[in-house]
């Protein structure tokens, strides 16, 4: 008997840098490293503009993941860690970024990053991350005014979706599109708790439901669940979704349907919002230090 060992949950890791920019022309080189429970991102900014980043899976060791993400972001840029003026660590593993000058929560960083990515009108940010879900309300400067974090279980998170992709043997990157390819929207699975939803999905498959229909029911349940979080912090129409799940059209479309709103779109990668925010904080902290010295 052959065993199917394909890793359907595995998403593509990548790095990027702007080849048109000479980083040495900049005045402040700042960096943000977001070590999440599932993925890690490192961002390098030159005077507040995105210059380089990486996005990879978090390993079992947070300091090592932070180092790897940073090294990968710096690859082929001609920059070394020592060239960076200030680094802020954020995310679940923020205190384990060995080369960071300061740690700032991912909530403050997502709000700050979201402000750059979607513009100053953005007021409500939903970060659907690897193992938690955060609803953030912020002001025009990207300062948090109301926050709520649900990290009690993996339901409605990237990890929950990965477990589902594996169960149904569907590539994580196809889940969203496949879930939308149903003739009629099925009722959501009754539980978003990953453990219960898994057994519910297995029995639906046995009853003859197609994989697409089961995926639709799960995406719908995930969307439904986060709506109540957003309700608690107060929804405003300039609303954006960050994190890995923002790339899952199946969840985003259903969420927009429930909210009767279209989420704002950005040219930036939604997964690097926290790291962008951290790099922006880092830049502001360098400026603050320099002002102090100049006095």
């Amino acid at each position: 008997m052959s065993e199917n060992t394909a890793e359907f949950w595995r998403w593509k890791e990548y790095n990027w840098h702007d080849e048109t920019v000479d980083p040495r022309d900049g005045e402040i080189i700042s960096a943000g490293v977001d070590v999440g429970s599932v993925s890690s991102q490192a961002v390098v900014m030159i005077d507040g503009k995105l210059y380089a980043y990486s996005n990879m899976r978090t390993g079992s060791d947070s300091p090592d993941s932070a180092r790897k993400a940073m090294n990968w972001a710096l690859e082929n840029t001609g920059l070394a860690l020592d060239d960076i003026h200030y680094t802020v660590g954020t995310g679940y593993g923020r205190v384990n970024v060995p080369f960071a000058d300061r740690a700032i929560t991912e909530i403050a960083c997502h709000a700050r990053g979201g402000n750059l990515m979607y513009g100053p009108t953005v007021r409500t940010i939903l970060d659907m991350g690897g193992q938690d879900c955060k609803a953030i309300h912020c002001d025009e400067r990207g300062k948090v005014t109301n926050l709520l974090m649900n990290d009690k279980c993996a339901a409605g998170t990237g990890r929950g979706m990965e477990v589902f992709a594996d169960l149904l043997a569907v590539s994580i990157e196809e889940v969203g599109d496949l879930s939308l390819d149903v003739e009629e929207e099925p009722p959501p699975v009754s539980s978003t708790c990953v453990v219960f939803a898994k057994s519910e999905a297995s029995s639906l498959l046995r009853e003859g439901w197609s994989k697409k229909r089961v995926l639709a029911a799960y995406c719908s349940a995930m969307a439904h669940r986060v709506v109540s979080l957003l309700d608690r912090i107060g929804m405003e129409k300039d609303f954006a979704i960050t994190g890995g799940i923002a790339k899952n059209k199946g969840v985003v479309t259903r969420l927009e349907r429930e909210l009767k709103l279209t989420s704002m779109k950005s040219e930036y990668d939604t997964q690097i919002a926290g790291a962008i925010g951290a790099a922006l904080f880092a830049r502001a902290l360098v400026e603050k230090q320099r002002k102090k010295v100049a006095k």
Partner: protein, 93 residues
């Protein structure tokens, strides 16, 4: 900033909300001593202000931790709410 600590699960919503803008001017930090279980702590937040927060280890079990303060009938005022003169603390349940 309104910081909501707690969770939402199949049995309901259990959040303690702290309006941390009110903590900035607060000097006595009454919430910290008032809570019999020591759920509150004063932290330096991301914007460098001293504000109250619910300790990490209690955030996922508020329903149970706060239960002794919330009898089903004849519920007295909650110690944490009463001790906070600026009115920064509210409970969702």
């Amino acid at each position: 900033m309104k910081a909501n600590y707690g969770y939402l699960d199949g049995s309901g919503e259990f959040f303690i909300t702290i309006d941390t803008d009110l903590c900035i001017e607060c000097t006595d930090h009454g919430c910290v001593d008032a809570c019999p279980l020591g759920l509150f702590e004063i932290i330096v937040d991301d914007y460098d202000d001293d504000v109250a927060a619910i300790k990490e280890e209690h955030r996922k079990k508020l329903k149970y931790d706060c239960a002794p303060c919330k009898p089903v009938s004849d519920r007295p005022p909650l110690p944490c709410v009463e001790a906070c003169a600026p009115g920064a603390v509210t409970h969702s349940w």
